[in-house]
C-alpha cells in the first residue's frame, strides 16, 4: 500500500531550540531590540511594568517597517525561516543587519509565557512611516500550550488581520508571564549591547535615504529607577560629559561632569553675539578602562568600534542633522592635534584659566587633546537661532558670522574641557605617586617624608638584599654587596645633588618674583625721568645761551638713563607672566648678542674689554626656543668670559662666532682670560662648582671693583649648569674645547 508520510513537529522542540539558541533573558531582549534596528526603526521603547495584580510584563515598541500579512505568514509563522538569509543590509536606511537569523520568536518564548504580537506593515513591504493603508496583524502566542507531546501545527494562535487607515508602521511585542531571571549584571550587559546600537546618531549611506539614527528608551523602574535614554547613558559613560549653551548675554556657559573632577563650570568672558538658542552636549570618550565612568554601559572593546564608526560632533539644525559636520573635522580638532597645538592663544581667556589650575602648564595644556572621533554628541541649533543658511547642495552652512561663532563656541567648550582633562591627568599622576609612597610606608611600617622616599627605599632594598646575600657563598656575597653599595651610592649621591639643586632653584625662583616687583617699581619710576626731562625742556625754552644748553643737556641725560634702564627692564620682563614670551619660536642670534653686549657695556667700557661678534651672520636663527633661554645662555657664557678676562688682567678680548648647519646652530665664545685647565672642562658644569681651582675669584677680587661684582655675577655656581640644562632640552651639547692661540678659553654650544 502506497502511503505518504509527513513529519510533525512536537512543541517540545520549540522549547528546546529556544533555550539552546537564547541562553538568557538578556540575550533574548537584546535580540528583539536588534530586530527593531534591523527593521529600520528610529526609536524603540522597552518597558518593564507590572499590571494591577503585580504580574510583570515587557513591552517592546518600535517604529520600524513592521510586517505585512505575507511577512507574518511566510516568516514569523514558519519556524526556522527568516528573510535575513537573503540580505545583509536593511531596506530603508541600508543599515548593516545586527540580529541573529530567525531567533526572534525563540527570544519571545524565552522571555515569558505569553506573547502578543502587533505589527503594522505596508502591503508593498520594506517601508516605514505613516501610510493611508496599513496591514495590521495582532496575534497571541500562548507558549504554555506548546507543551511536550503536542504537534505545533495543531495549536491555534488567536488573532486577526485587518486593514487600517492612516496608520504608522511598526511592531509591538507584549510579553506576559515574564520569566524572572533578570539580574543587575545581566541588565548591564544588555545596556552595553544597546549602547552600541544607539551610537548610531544618524548618517547617510549611498543608495538609501538618510538614516536619522536609533534611540532606545528603557523603562525599568525595578532596576534603574525610571526611564533611561540609552544614548544618554552612553554619552555619560565616558570620561566626561560636556554641556554648553549660549546665555542671554551671548556668553558660553559650559558644564563638565567628569571622572575625578565632578562638576565644573565656566562662563566665557568672550561673547558670541550672533548666537542664540544653541546647545552642545557631547560625551568625551577615552578608550581606556580607567577613564570610563560607567563600564556597565560600555566596554573598551565596544567603545573602539563605536568611536571609529560613530564618533564626532554633529550639528542638528532645527531637529535635522546637517552634513558633513561630524563626519569631518569641522572644529579643526584633528588638525590642531596634527600640528601638536600646545595651548590656546595667549590672549585667549582659556590660557589664563589653564594657568589657574594647579599643576597645569598653560603653554602645554592642549597637548592631551583627544581626536574628533573621541567626542560623541551634537550641537543643537534651535528654532530661535539666526544666521544659519544651508548651502544649495545641502552640504553644510553658507559661511557667516554665526557659523564662525558657532565653531568658536564649540571649540571654546572643547578646549576648556581639554584643559580640565589635562588637570585631571596631572592630579592622577600625583595621586599615583602618593599611593606608591603610601604602599611603601605600609611595607616598612612607618611614615616617610617625601624628600626622603628615595633614600629610605634604597636602605630598604639594601637591607633585604643583604638578607638574601647572607645565604650565598662568601665570595659571591662580597661581590654582591660591593655592587649593591656602588649602585646605591650612585643613586644617593645623584639624589642628594638634585635635592640641593632643587632647593637652590626654588630660592632663585622666589627671587625672580622679587625681581619682577622691583622691575615693575623701577619701570614706574622711569616716568619720572621722562617727566623731569620734559619739564627741564619746558624751562629751557624760557632761557637762553649756556644755561639753556646745560638744562637741555641734563634733560638729555635723564632721557638716556630712562632708555637704558628700560632696555634692561625689558630683559627682566622675559620672566614675567606675559604668555607670548613663554611660547618657543624662532630667535635671531645676532640681535640678542647685540643686546647682551649692551647690558655689559658699562663694565666692558670700564675695563677696556673688546667683544667682537662681527663674524656672526645676521640670519643665524635658533628654532623652537624661548627668547629668555637664548638670553640666559648668552648672559651666563659672556659674563663668564668677562670675569675671566678681568681676572686675566692682560688682553681683554672676547670673540663670538656662530654658524648654522643642517643639524642646528653652533655658537663659539672665546676669550683671552685666565683660562681653564682641560681637566676641569666637565667639572665646571656641575652646580655650585663655579671656580674649581679657586683662581678665578681670587684674581677677580684683586682686579674687580667690588661694586661691579654684582654686575657680572658673584658666582652662584649655577650659571653653566643652567646653560647645560637649556642646551640639553634642545638636544644640544655644550662643552669646553682646547683653545687655539691667542685664546685662553673656548666654549662651544650646539643647539639642535
Amino acid at each position: 500500500m502506497e502511503t505518504k508520510l509527513k513529519f510533525t513537529v512536537d512543541s517540545a522542540l520549540l522549547k528546546e531550540l529556544g533555550e539552546k539558541l537564547v541562553e538568557t533573558v538578556h540575550v533574548a531582549l537584546s535580540e528583539l531590540v536588534k530586530n527593531a534596528y534591523d527593521a529600520d526603526a528610529t526609536e524603540v521603547e522597552v518597558i518593564f511594568e507590572n499590571d494591577a495584580s503585580g504580574n510583570g510584563y515587557i513591552k517592546i515598541i518600535d517604529n520600524g517597517t513592521g510586517m505585512n500579512f505575507e511577512d507574518v505568514r511566510n516568516y514569523w509563522m514558519r519556524i526556522a525561516t527568516t528573510n535575513k538569509e537573503s540580505k545583509n543590509i536593511s531596506s530603508v536606511y541600508g543599515r548593516h543587519l545586527t540580529g541573529a537569523k530567525g531567533i526572534g520568536r525563540f527570544s519571545c518564548r524565552r522571555l515569558g509565557g505569553k506573547l502578543t504580537l502587533i505589527t503594522n506593515g505596508t502591503k508593498k513591504g520594506d517601508l516605514c512611516g505613516k501610510f493611508p493603508e496599513i496591514e495590521r496583524t495582532e496575534v497571541v502566542f500562548p507558549w504554555k500550550k506548546f507543551e511536550a507531546g503536542k504537534d505545533v501545527t495543531t495549536i491555534v494562535c488567536p488573532g486577526e488581520q485587518t486593514i487600517v487607515k492612516d496608520e504608522y508602521t511598526g511592531t509591538t511585542l507584549i510579553i506576559e508571564d515574564v520569566i524572572d531571571e533578570w539580574t543587575t549584571r545581566g541588565l548591564s550587559w544588555l545596556k552595553r549591547q544597546l549602547a552600541v546600537l544607539t551610537a548610531n546618531r544618524g548618517t547617510r549611506r549611498k543608495g538609501f535615504i538618510e538614516d536619522p539614527g536609533f534611540l532606545v528608551m528603557l523603562t525599568a523602574s525595578n532596576f534603574e529607577g525610571g526611564i533611561r535614554d540609552i544614548r544618554d547613558d552612553l554619552i555619560n559613560a565616558g570620561w566626561g560629559t560636556l554641556e554648553a549653551y549660549i546665555n542671554n548675554k551671548n556668553q558660553a556657559v559650559c558644564e563638565l561632569n567628569a571622572l575625578g573632577l565632578g562638576r565644573r563650570n565656566i562662563i566665557s568672558r568672550q561673547t558670541f553675539p550672533k548666537l542664540k538658542d544653541i546647545r552642545l552636549k557631547v560625551g568625551i570618550m577615552v578608550d581606556e578602562r580607567a577613564q570610563m565612568r560607567d563600564l556597565s554601559v560600555i566596554s573598551k572593546q565596544a567603545l573602539n568600534a563605536i568611536l571609529s564608526e560613530w564618533g564626532g560632533i554633529q550639528i542638528r539644525y532645527r531637529g535635522f542633522r546637517v552634513y558633513p559636520y561630524g563626519n569631518d573635522d569641522w572644529l579643526e580638532i584633528d588638525k590642531d592635534r596634527g600640528i601638536r597645538k600646545a595651548s590656546p592663544k595667549i590672549e585667549n581667556e582659556l590660557f589664563a584659566y589653564a594657568e589657574s589650575l594647579q599643576g597645569v602648564e598653560a603653554s602645554r595644556a592642549l597637548l592631551n587633546m583627544l581626536s574628533m572621533n573621541s567626542y560623541i554628541g551634537n550641537v543643537l541649533i534651535g528654532p530661535k537661532s539666526e544666521g544659519f543658511e544651508m548651502k544649495a547642495n545641502r552640504e553644510g552652512f553658507i559661511h557667516s558670522d554665526a557659523v564662525r561663532q558657532l565653531k568658536n563656541f564649540a571649540r571654546f567648550a572643547i578646549d576648556w574641557s581639554t584643559i580640565l582633562r589635562d588637570y585631571y591627568l596631572r592630579q592622577q599622576q600625583l595621586k599615583i605617586a602618593e599611593v606608591a609612597k603610601e604602599q611603601f610606608e605600609n611595607i616598612i611600617g612607618r611614615e616617610v617624608e617625601s624628600q626622603k622616599v628615595v633614600t629610605t627605599a634604597l636602605d630598604y632594598i639594601n637591607a633585604n638584599i643583604k638578607e638574601v646575600a647572607g645565604t650565598l657563598e662568601p665570595k659571591k656575597r662580597v661581590e654582591l654587596e660591593a655592587s649593591l653599595k656602588k649602585a646605591t651610592d650612585v643613586i644617593k649621591t645623584r639624589n642628594r645633588s638634585l635635592l640641593i639643586e632643587l632647593s637652590h632653584l626654588r630660592l632663585v625662583a622666589s627671587t625672580s618674583s622679587l625681581l619682577l616687583i622691583f622691575s615693575h617699581e623701577v619701570k614706574s619710576l622711569l616716568g619720572l625721568l621722562e617727566q623731569s626731562k620734559n619739564t627741564l625742556n619746558r624751562i629751557a625754552k624760557s632761557l637762553s645761551g649756556g644755561t639753556r644748553d646745560t638744562i637741555i643737556k641734563i634733560g638729555q641725560n635723564f632721557q638716556d638713563l630712562n632708555y637704558r634702564l628700560e632696555e634692561l627692564l625689558q630683559l627682566t620682563s622675559l620672566i614675567s607672566t606675559n604668555k607670548a614670551k613663554t611660547k618657543p619660536g624662532r630667535v635671531a642670534l645676532k640681535s640678542r648678542i647685540n643686546k647682551v653686549e649692551k647690558i655689559f657695556e658699562l663694565i666692558t667700557n670700564k675695563y677696556g674689554i673688546e667683544i667682537d661678534h662681527s663674524e656672526v651672520p645676521n640670519n643665524i636663527v635658533i628654532r623652537d626656543i624661548l627668547e629668555a633661554e637664548v638670553y640666559s645662555i648668552l648672559i651666563n657664557v659672556i659674563s663668564n668670559s668677562i670675569k675671566a678676562v678681568i681676572a686675566g688682567g692682560n688682553n681683554k678680548n672676547i670673540k663670538i662666532v656662530a654658524s648654522s648647519t643642517p643639524e642646528g646652530v653652533n655658537i663659539i665664545v672665546k676669550d683671552t682670560g685666565i683660562g681653564l685647565n682641560s681637566n676641569r672642562f666637565n667639572e665646571v658644569f656641575i652646580p655650585f662648582v663655579s671656580d674649581p681651582d679657586g683662581e678665578l675669584y681670587q684674581e677677580l677680587e684683586k682686579r674687580l671693583n667690588p661694586e661691579d661684582s654684582l654686575f657680572v655675577g658673584a658666582g652662584s655656581g649655577l650659571g653653566l649648569g643652567i646653560v647645560r640644562e637649556i642646551v640639553s632640552i634642545h638636544n644640544g651639547i655644550v662643552r669646553f674645547k682646547q683653545p687655539s692661540s691667542p685664546w685662553a678659553t673656548e666654549i662651544e654650544i650646539k643647539l639642535r
Partner: protein, 325 residues
C-alpha cells in the same frame, strides 16, 4: 580761529599733574587734570560725564590708589566714559609693561602708551584728537564720505572700500562708529603695509637704505599720508603714489628698487641691502624672527618665507619672516 584742543587727564598719581602741564604747554592745548588719588572715582567720573565732552581723555591704567569697587583700572573707567561719550578717544598712559596688560583691558582704550615715552607721543595725541574732532564735525554717512577722510589716491578708492570692515560700511548710525574708524585705521591701515608704507618699507621699495631715503624724503612729500590721524611720529606713504611719483621722476620702467637707486645719484652707500645676505635689491621687508618685538629689515624674498603669525589680507602685502640660514 581754531579753538584749542581740550584734554582731560584722569590719574591717581598727583605727581603726574606735572606731565599734564608739560603736555598742555607743549601742545598749546587746554588741559584738566582730575586727581582721583584716595578719592571716590565713581563720583568723579559721574561729574566728569555731566560736563562738556573733551577732545581726548588720558587715563591712568592702574587706579589702585583711588577708592572704588567698580573702577579698579582705567579700562573699566574708560568703558563707563565710552558709554556716555561714545565718540571720545581715551588713551591710557601706564608704567606697567604694555605687552603684559590683558588684551581685554587694552581693548577699552583707543591706545596705550608707556608713561616714560610720553613726549614721543605728543604728536600722536594731537593727531588723534584732531582726527576725532574732524569726524565729529562732519560725521560720515556713507563709505565714500568715510574714505574722503583718508584722502586716498583715486586708484586706491575701490580697493579701500572693499577692505573696510562690515561694521564701518553697514551702520553709519552706530554710536561707536568713530571709535571703530580709529581702531581700524590704527590697527589695520597704518599697521599693515599695503596701501600705506612706513619708512623702512618705502625706502626698500625705492631700493634705498634708511639714510638714502632721507635724501629723497622731501621729494616724496606729496605722497605722504595726510588724512585723519596722520602724525609726524607715524609717517606713512601711499604706496601707489610713491610708485607714480617714482615713474615721473625717473622716466624709467623697471623694478622700483632698481630704478629708485637713480634718485640718489647711484651712490652705493645709500642703497638698501638684504639684511640676511647683504645682497643688493631686497624686494621686501621681513621680521628677523618670531618674537614679539622682532626687528623688521629689508630682505631678498628668497631669504624669507611667510610669517606664521600673520594671516594674509586682501590688498595688503604679505608679511614675511627671515629664513634661518
Amino acid at each position: 580761529m581754531n579753538q584749542k584742543l581740550h584734554f582731560i587727564w584722569v590719574d591717581d598719581s598727583p605727581e603726574r599733574k606735572q606731565d599734564a602741564d608739560n603736555l598742555r604747554d607743549e601742545l598749546q592745548i587746554e588741559m584738566d587734570f582730575i586727581d582721583v588719588n584716595e578719592t571716590e572715582v565713581d563720583e568723579k567720573l559721574e561729574n566728569l560725564v555731566q560736563g562738556k565732552e573733551p577732545d581726548l581723555i588720558i587715563m591712568d591704567h592702574s587706579l589702585d590708589k583711588s577708592y572704588s569697587k567698580t573702577y579698579k583700572t582705567g579700562s573699566t573707567a574708560a568703558t563707563f566714559i565710552h558709554e556716555q561719550w561714545p565718540s571720545c578717544p581715551i588713551i591710557s598712559f601706564t608704567g606697567v609693561p604694555i605687552e603684559d596688560v590683558d588684551v581685554r583691558h587694552k581693548a577699552a582704550y583707543e591706545d596705550m602708551y608707556p608713561i616714560n615715552r610720553i613726549s614721543e607721543k605728543y604728536s600722536e595725541l594731537t593727531a588723534i584728537a584732531n582726527g576725532f574732532k574732524q569726524l565729529k564735525s562732519n560725521r560720515p554717512k556713507s563709505t565714500s564720505e568715510l574714505l574722503q577722510f583718508l584722502v586716498p589716491p583715486e586708484d586706491d578708492l575701490v580697493k579701500l572700500s572693499k577692505i573696510l570692515p562690515k561694521e564701518l560700511k553697514e551702520d553709519f548710525s552706530d554710536k561707536s562708529l568713530l571709535l571703530e574708524i580709529y581702531r581700524w585705521a590704527d590697527s589695520v591701515l597704518f599697521a599693515r603695509p599695503g596701501f600705506l608704507y612706513d619708512k623702512v618699507w618705502v625706502a626698500t621699495l625705492l631700493g634705498l637704505s634708511l639714510d638714502g631715503f632721507e635724501y629723497v624724503k622731501e621729494t616724496f612729500q606729496d605722497t605722504m599720508y595726510n588724512g585723519i590721524f596722520s602724525s609726524e611720529n607715524k609717517e606713512r606713504w601711499w604706496k601707489s603714489k610713491v610708485l607714480t611719483k617714482l615713474g615721473s621722476l625717473t622716466n624709467e620702467f623697471g623694478l622700483p628698487w632698481e630704478i629708485g637707486r637713480n634718485l640718489v645719484n647711484s651712490d652705493p652707500n645709500n642703497f638698501s641691502k638684504c639684511f640676511a645676505s647683504q645682497e643688493d635689491y631686497p624686494e621686501t621687508v621681513a621680521a628677523e624672527d618670531s618674537t614679539q618685538n622682532a626687528n623688521w629689515y629689508p630682505m631678498k624674498l628668497m631669504h624669507t618665507e611667510p610669517h606664521p603669525n600673520f594671516e594674509d589680507m586682501l590688498f595688503f602685502d604679505e608679511l614675511r619672516i627671515m629664513k634661518p640660514l
